[in-house]
């Protein structure tokens, strides 16, 4: 068998090269917004972000960053581009863009949509549907928009003003807001005649831990459940905690709990984890921030019971665990007592839908989660859609945004009589970036500078002021260096085989050895003949059709390409060109433009 010529007319081929955009659930056009920052066009950088992820200022601080492990820069030198941090740069330096945001038209389209919960998923649905003329009514039991972004992300990570600004921008489009009005019956809501209901009510319940001693003495008052406790702090009801605090669990919520406890007076805070450190669920940078604040991490321990003496909680008895290499099986090798004045449980979150009647056509899994189509976000009842943590359990904010976009497309389809399964294709264009001979519209040089470290507020100030944001801005010099680290992976190497004279110039000049001209063969044979054999990469190779002079093929291994454009500069016949892939994953508005009903 001979290697198949690569079909570059499929947008997925070049899209995969843009690792960050491919990895982002909302498909944010990362390289382009980084270039816009480089040009000082912060408003445009912000708006470009907003098109796909709706909350650049919030996500620039809180995102789980699936883009960064994917970033090619992380394979080229030690660390990926600080993509998330640059998103915050765009948000922080952006001016007033209010008059450039979409608004609901004066004439509405007559369709009514209800959104349950005012978190990121519901707000995204509103953001996408309001400009199309939908009447969107948002219900939320609390008094402000934001959902878990407001109640469980501490202000020292996400300042309230940022949250207020970005949620208000959506509401100002013309949403009908019903705060302080929790929905108590789905049947009742549906009876109001909405064309569609979107459930974005999150996974609002922290899991409890029913082990011996949980309700003994004053344990009920000293053992706190993460989300309720964080919300109580966020809304000012809780202002103190004991000196010695134990946090059970080692996810990002546990980090938020431990760091919050540290600020409320806990000066001896310990996070207890069941599994070894390499298997922690917390993002490495959030773990590091906690460690920097003096929080102790005790791993390979499992809580056995709460110890209550004389009616008072005195600590937690822990089983000491020994794990096998893959941390699948453990055995108890001892027990120990960890003294504590207060304990915070951060062992997971649960979905809760006590307000959804089980006999109205919405099916649930045994786990308590609804049955939801992962593409259309539709439930088993055609006019009810789910998104965010309410759909598949706790995930990061950016997933809630992605769900919101998809649900908005589905709702718009349904209201227009288009099957929800009809999904608009991504729009892709490829545009040469050639300005003149050996001149490109993007900065093509490779800057070997390392990833810029985020400056932090000093520890004394962090503990003195509960709401002071811990991470400081990049300096202008840091911004300049960090944007130069981006490899412009959206600027693709485009090859026209009919022009190739096989002079080898591109192969000679390539700094990473990613090009090869060789005889056609099986995939294994071609891989064995590459200029630089790929180190364990299983990425598909680009393979051209037969070259005119010898019938050999041009092969490119995309893995380490730094998009410097030297191949195109050294090509005598312009068989190589550098062309920017502009890839837009459609929202409801674009879907409508693509296929008018």
């Amino acid at each position: 068998m001979v290697v198949q010529r690569t079909d570059v007319t499929d947008p997925a081929w070049y899209a995969r090269v843009v690792d960050c955009q491919w990895a982002c659930p909302a498909h944010t056009d990362v390289p382009q917004y980084i270039r816009l920052i480089g040009q000082g066009r912060y408003d445009e950088a912000y708006l470009l972000n907003r098109e796909s992820n709706v909350f650049p200022g919030i996500l620039g601080r809180t995102c789980d960053r699936p883009c960064e492990p994917a970033c090619r820069r992380g394979r080229v030198d030690a660390d990926p581009v600080a993509i998330c941090r640059l998103k915050r740069v765009a948000a922080d330096l952006c001016g007033d863009v209010t008059d450039r945001l979409p608004r609901a038209p004066r004439e509405r389209n007559g369709h009514r949509v209800a959104a349950v919960g005012a978190g990121p998923a519901s707000l995204t649905v509103a953001n996408d549907l309001l400009p199309l003329g939908y009447e969107v009514t948002i219900f939320d039991g609390s008094g402000a928009a934001g959902g878990l972004m407001r109640s469980s992300i501490p202000a020292f990570r996400l300042p309230v003003e940022v949250l207020d600004t970005e949620t208000a921008a959506v509401l100002a489009m013309g949403a009908d807001v019903r705060f302080g009005q929790p929905v108590s019956s789905m049947a009742g809501l549906l009876a109001d005649g909405y064309d569609a209901v979107f459930v974005g009510s999150g996974a609002p319940r922290g899991k409890d831990l029913e082990i011996p001693g949980r309700h003994e003495g004053d344990a009920d008052a000293r053992v706190h459940v993460s989300l309720d406790w964080l919300a109580s702090v966020a809304f000012g009801h809780t202002t103190t905690i004991g000196r010695r605090v134990v946090v059970l669990g080692v996810g990002n919520t546990a980090m938020d709990c431990s760091r919050t406890a540290r600020r409320l007076g806990g000066d001896d805070v310990t996070v207890v984890a069941r599994r070894p450190r390499a298997f922690f669920r917390a993002s490495p940078w959030e773990l590091q921030d906690a460690v920097d604040e003096g929080i102790a991490i005790l791993s390979e321990r499992a809580p056995r019971r709460f110890v209550v003496e004389g009616g008072h909680l005195v600590g937690v008895e822990l089983d000491v665990l020994e794990w096998d290499a893959t941390a699948v099986h453990s055995e108890v090798v001892g027990t120990e007592l960890l003294p504590a004045d207060d304990v915070v449980l951060a062992v997971g979150q649960e979905n809760a839908f006590p307000w959804i009647e089980r006999d109205i056509g919405i099916a649930f899994h045994q786990s308590g989660l609804p049955e939801v189509d992962p593409v259309t976000m539709a439930s088993t009842r055609p006019d009810v859609f789910f998104g965010g943590d309410a759909a598949f359990g706790p995930q990061n904010i950016v997933w809630a945004v992605a769900h919101g976009h998809e649900a908005a497309i589905s709702i718009d389809n349904r209201c227009r009589g288009v099957p929800v399964s009809t999904r608009p294709p991504p729009r892709a264009s490829l545009t040469s970036q050639k300005v003149s001979i050996n001149q490109w519209s993007y900065a093509n040089d490779f800057n070997p500078v390392g990833r810029q470290e985020t400056p932090h507020v000093d520890l004394a100030r962090r503990f003195a002021e509960l709401h002071v944001e811990v991470e400081l801005d990049f300096t202008p010099a840091q911004i300049e260096r960090e944007i130069q680290r981006c490899l412009n992976c959206d600027v693709q190497t485009r090859f026209s085989e009919r022009l190739c004279v096989e002079c080898d110039a591109c192969i000679d000049v390539c700094p990473v050895g990613c090009l090869t001209i060789t005889e056609d063969g099986t995939d294994d044979e071609v891989r064995a003949r590459l200029t630089v054999p790929p180190a364990g990469s299983t990425e598909p190779l680009y393979v051209s059709g037969p070259l005119p002079q010898t019938g050999r093929v041009m092969v490119k291994d995309e893995d380490l390409c730094v998009h410097c454009g030297l191949c195109a500069e050294r090509c005598p016949t312009a068989a190589w060109d550098m062309a920017r892939l502009h890839l837009v994953h459609p929202t409801a508005a674009a879907a409508r433009a693509a296929a008018p009903a």
Binding site: R75, D77, N444, V501, P511, C564, E569, P572
Partner: protein, 349 residues
């Protein structure tokens, strides 16, 4: 020239040779030649051959004259010695340098104009003396630097880029070398590195004067449809006469041992030479000459290591000159004084 310098990318795995150097240590600044110039590919092949031959960059002397070809020593081996001479005079400069210091490796880069027009006389005498050096002709059949006039290797009847016919027969540097008693004659093609790199490695290992003719297309002035030294025409008419491998170094060409001739080289190791036509004997000057005449007549371009003779003494061995480089001799040895001069002159009376 390119907008940027070829960057060093940390993650690229780079093999090291016996000296602990990577191939990037054998490169130079960015080329200012036209994009797609054959000379740049020849440079890349040289970089590969020098790296594989484990040559210390500071033990190499790069020499050249004038022309596009003569610019190329800048683009490789940035830490070697270099001498850019006047037009055509590279060979005598190399001869002189070699006479003064036989410990260094002399690598001359010339073009079809520099070597076979203005520098032809000098080339002939360097061949005759068997000066130990590599003399590489980047041969594109055209004066590229002066906008495309015919050079002495332009084939009879071939067309210039403006459509004029060449009316003067070409000089074939291989036949010229054979007639002058050259000891190493090889021809390669810049567009075929798998074949060219072992030729260059063998040339670097040769004990005398190694003349290497590299067909190196001029993309600007001699790569058109009626050109006989374009990429397409060379590919169509190239005839691999011999394949070879330098077994001590990693090479891309794999040569079967059956029917092969191993020639030991002074630097250690040997060159394995496989003659493709059954009756081709790369050590027989007369039959090689006949072979080249016959194939040149058919418009074919025979490539490979065409002729090799490791038995002929080089310039120093013939003249019995100093084994120690002159700059390492003590002053009184180098300049024995007026009495010694008087004695020498008296001997001639």
């Amino acid at each position: 020239m390119p907008s940027i310098t070829k960057p060093l990318i940390p993650a690229v795995r780079r093999e090291r040779n016996a000296l602990g150097l990577t191939i990037r240590d054998y490169e130079g600044p960015m080329s200012t030649l036209c994009a797609g110039c054959g000379h740049d590919s020849t440079t890349a092949a040289l970089v590969q051959a020098l790296w594989q031959s484990n040559l210390e960059p500071h033990r190499v002397v790069k020499l050249s004259g004038i022309g596009c070809s003569s610019k190329t020593p800048t683009y490789f081996l940035r830490s070697a010695h270099g001498f850019n001479s006047v037009h055509g005079r590279m060979a005598p400069i190399a001869t002189g340098a070699n006479a003064a210091n036989r410990d260094l490796l002399y690598l001359g880069i010339s073009g079809d104009g520099d070597a076979l027009s203005i520098g032809l006389g000098h080339l002939c005498h360097a061949v005759r003396r068997n000066v130990r050096m590599v003399y590489l002709i980047e041969n594109n059949g055209v004066y590229g630097l002066t906008k495309g006039q015919f050079s002495p290797t332009a084939d009879l009847g071939s067309l210039s880029h403006r459509g004029e016919h060449n009316l003067v027969p070409p000089i074939d540097p291989m036949l010229l070398g054979l007639s002058l008693g050259a000891t190493f004659l090889a021809r390669g093609f810049s567009g075929d590195k798998a074949h060219l790199v072992p030729i260059l490695e063998a040339a670097l290992a040769h004990r005398g004067f190694a003349l290497v003719d590299v067909i190196s297309p001029c993309v600007q002035f001699n790569n058109h449809a009626a050109s006989t030294k374009s990429y397409a025409a060379t590919r169509a008419h190239e005839l691999h006469v011999t394949d070879l491998a330098v077994p001590h170094a990693p090479v891309t060409a794999t040569i079967p041992t059956e029917g092969a001739v191993d020639v030991p080289m002074p630097g250690g190791g040997s060159v394995r030479l496989r003659a493709l036509p059954a009756d081709y004997d790369p050590t027989d000057r007369r039959s090689v000459s006949a072979f080249l005449h016959e194939h040149a007549g058919r418009g074919e371009v025979p490539t490979g290591l065409l002729f090799l003779d490791e038995s002929v003494p080089d310039m120093h061995e013939r003249s019995g000159s100093s084994r120690v480089p002159l700059n390492q001799l003590a002053f009184d040895e180098l300049c024995p004084g007026a009495d010694a001069l008087d004695a020498l002159q008296a001997a001639y009376r």
